[in-house]
């Protein structure tokens, strides 16, 4: 499930030219040391099956997913990170993911938080999504 899910996320990412051209890639959990910013990391926070109505054969999966956008640019208006965030929203808000073996139901943005890491002068945007998929 995880592999198929990450593949679907990557395929959706590749469909956005703004994200592909404007960042140095999408990484799972953490970027390799020395990767130039801006880049985006994606982590799976939680995955809960829902056996509603006694449905044990094809339960609905509720996945909590987090994107983190990292940028060390402190100049420019609007900031570079804001435009990446806009591209991310455009790409993933209510998108139709193609998860192999699963029917995609919905992907909605749940939370956005911005952090400024003062000691290293890096801006972080955390964007959290809730995804519902069901085994086909």
């Amino acid at each position: 499930m995880n592999v198929a899910f990450y593949r679907a996320i990557k395929a959706q990412w590749d469909s956005s030219t703004g994200l592909v051209d404007g960042t140095n890639g999408l990484w799972i959990d953490e970027a390799p040391p020395g990767t130039d910013m801006p880049y985006v990391t994606v982590s799976l926070i939680s995955d809960l099956p829902d056996y509603g109505m006694g449905n044990t054969t094809s339960p609905m999966e509720n996945i909590m997913l987090q994107f983190s956008i990292w940028d060390d640019s402190t100049t420019g208006k609007p900031r570079r990170i804001s435009s990446i965030y806009e591209y991310l929203k455009e790409c993933f808000d209510f998108c139709s993911l193609n998860v192999t073996g699963y029917d995609h139901i919905k992907m909605e943005r749940d939370l956005t938080q911005s952090f400024w890491l003062d000691d290293i002068q890096v801006q972080q945007y955390v964007v959290q999504y809730n995804v519902w998929v069901q085994k086909s």
């Binding site: 959990d29 953490e30 990767t35 987090q66 972080q124």
Partner: protein, 173 residues
């Protein structure tokens, strides 16, 4: 005949209590006695909701602690126990974060579950640090609150369902 409303407003036979619209005109002495001991519905509801929320906050705190201590970790060996891998809840090494996760009531129907440790946020979301060599390195998230919150979100309606049933049975008495 004089009787009393739940708000302890003394009622005359032809008087309607302004706060509850409770008429004392047609109640018997027996009913008054029963009503006197019966809790006010709004009190019962608010107490039960508050109790339900407190229970939910406690469940969330316990779930967080269980995820830190009991779930197996697959990272490298740490100073005391095995460390967590990226994506897993943090492992307990010295127990600072474990002990700092608390639930507190900050107002009516308002509970807060969390930690005031400076690195709790760093673990929950991912972060970047500077190595002594000056190089930046990425630290992946070890979410400890959101998986528990996710689980509690799913089960809170059930908990409140129980609370509602309690409310109903209490009011039926």
């Amino acid at each position: 005949m004089r009787s009393s409303c739940w708000c302890r407003d003394t009622l005359s036979a032809d008087y309607t209590c302004q706060c509850h619209g409770y008429s004392g005109g047609y109640v018997t002495a027996k009913y008054v006695l029963i009503d006197w001991h019966k809790p006010r519905p709004e009190d019962t509801l608010s107490k039960l909701f508050d109790r339900g929320l407190r229970a939910t906050a406690r469940v969330l705190r316990n779930r967080v602690r269980i995820s830190m201590k009991l779930w197996p970790k697959t990272g490298r060996m740490g100073p005391v126990r095995r460390r967590s891998a990226p994506g897993e809840p943090p492992a307990v090494q010295y127990g600072d974060l474990y002990r700092s996760v608390r639930h507190t009531r900050i107002g009516p129907y308002h509970y807060r579950v969390g930690s005031d440790l400076y690195y709790a946020k760093t673990l929950e979301f991912d972060s970047i640090h500077r190595a002594p060599s000056g190089r930046l390195f990425h630290v992946a998230a070890r979410p400890w609150l959101r998986p528990a919150l996710h689980w509690v979100y799913r089960h809170v309606p059930r908990m409140f369902g129980k609370a509602e049933i309690q409310v109903e049975t209490r009011l039926e008495r």
